[in-house]
Symmetry: C2
């Protein structure tokens, strides 16, 4: 009897050469066949951007013994072209990351890593984005791999929704210091931006975005609470952004 192995698509936003994706490939290989489609350069903060007005270029390579394609587009482009062009069958699971840096709270909407996962769910393929709370290129992914393995195993073993998308954030701690896993909601938060203003050698002004993240939420059911208390946070996410709480308040707009 031939049992078809799971096919797992691995994507990210830090680019195909980031250390984080190698950690995720290593975990994914324990569960089936793996194909990588990832941006050919860093694409952090690309949100749900897609390439409409220019062409996409793909180069086939391999990483850690698995077939890999580098893509000139965004993380969401990688998912779209993987599922609709490059793969010869539909993946059973899409995993994105492991991102170098947090995608908790409002960061989920700026994140290429998470937008790729949301796109996977829109393709009706269960998708999980993983992020480690450490931006460093030298980050230690040991605990992240430990939890990614547990979470992937549970998702593959259970018949959750095909449109399931999980935002998993992992504290920057050794495995034995992590308190466990919490299923959470997205904390309310926002960035207070500042722009660092400089002059180029020709005397023209340019700007760098800087800022600090502010949490406006003291709920104990949020991803920020879980992470601050040494838990891995899992927020299930979905793409309907309708503000149902406001619908009745603004009905008067129908009579203007």
């Amino acid at each position: 009897m031939h049992i078809k192995k799971s096919l797992i698509l691995v994507v990210n936003d830090d680019g195909i050469n980031a250390p984080g994706i190698k950690s995720l490939i290593a975990v994914a290989k324990e569960f089936g066949d793996v194909v990588v489609v990832a941006p050919d350069k860093p694409q952090s903060g690309m949100g749900h951007a897609i390439t409409l007005d220019s062409t996409l270029h793909i180069n086939k390579t391999d990483i850690a013994g698995v077939v890999a394609y580098s893509c000139s587009g965004t993380p969401v482009d990688c998912v779209k072209i993987a599922v609709n062009k490059l793969l010869d069958r539909r993946p059973d699971l899409i995993v994105s990351g492991i991102n170098h840096g947090s995608n908790s709270s409002i960061n989920v909407i700026y994140s290429g890593t998470m937008s790729a996962a949301v796109e996977g769910a829109l393709e009706k393929i269960p998708s999980i984005g993983f992020s480690l709370l450490n931006h460093s290129i030298d980050a230690d992914f040991t605990a992240s791999k430990h939890y990614a393995k547990k979470i992937i195993a549970h998702v593959l073993a259970n018949d959750f929704s095909k449109e399931m998308c999980l935002n998993v954030n992992i504290p920057n701690l050794d495995t034995d210091l992590i308190a466990g896993i919490k299923v959470c909601r997205q904390a309310k938060g926002n960035w207070e931006e500042e722009y660092d203003e400089r002059s180029d050698p020709m005397g023209r002004t340019y700007y760098w975005l800087t800022g600090k993240f502010v949490i406006n939420d003291d709920g104990k059911d949020t991803d920020e609470w879980a992470l601050a208390n040494n838990y891995v946070s899992i927020v299930p996410v979905q793409p309907d952004i309708t503000d149902y709480s406001l619908s009745n308040n603004i009905k008067s707009l129908e009579n203007v």
Copy 2:
């Protein structure tokens, strides 16, 4: 007595030279002081992308007699740098568009026009994105201007939430053929993608994204229903993408 006029920030994603933004500036000028901060080139499909790894450049100009800044970044960058650097006071309202093409249903998450409006609401400034269901550079914005004026007047006259964000889509019809306004929810839909594969003069393969939009929703309370029935659709939107319906189903992940 000095009554301070409203300050309205105008942004878009089609770029500072698009005809749609000129229509929106003309409407906004009827309500107060107007400043434009818009991308220096088309940025359709940029979603909630921000510029993290490179610099931003700003050029001051004017459009239709108002102060305007072209920005090298994304639509969301435009809102951030406008509010946090370029403007000398906080705007009372942000309007985005008028977009050349629909941003109904799932298109809201790919849209730079709507992501700029969502960013405005994150800055606690009421924000409205306007889109006309016509991609043409020669689109007729007469009906869009008529409805944008009514909607802006109503929003400025009422004390809705500071975090209010509206996704307004306008049918491609003459004003007298539009049936009115409906407050709606975002229809479920997705893109079925195809990639047009070509060879460049050096024999290398490249791809163009094409596809067709599929609505998976027969509700009469959706933006797609409203637009198909000649109504202007207004969907209030917000940035929490937690899938609350899935939270209980996946609690078992806390015990893996």
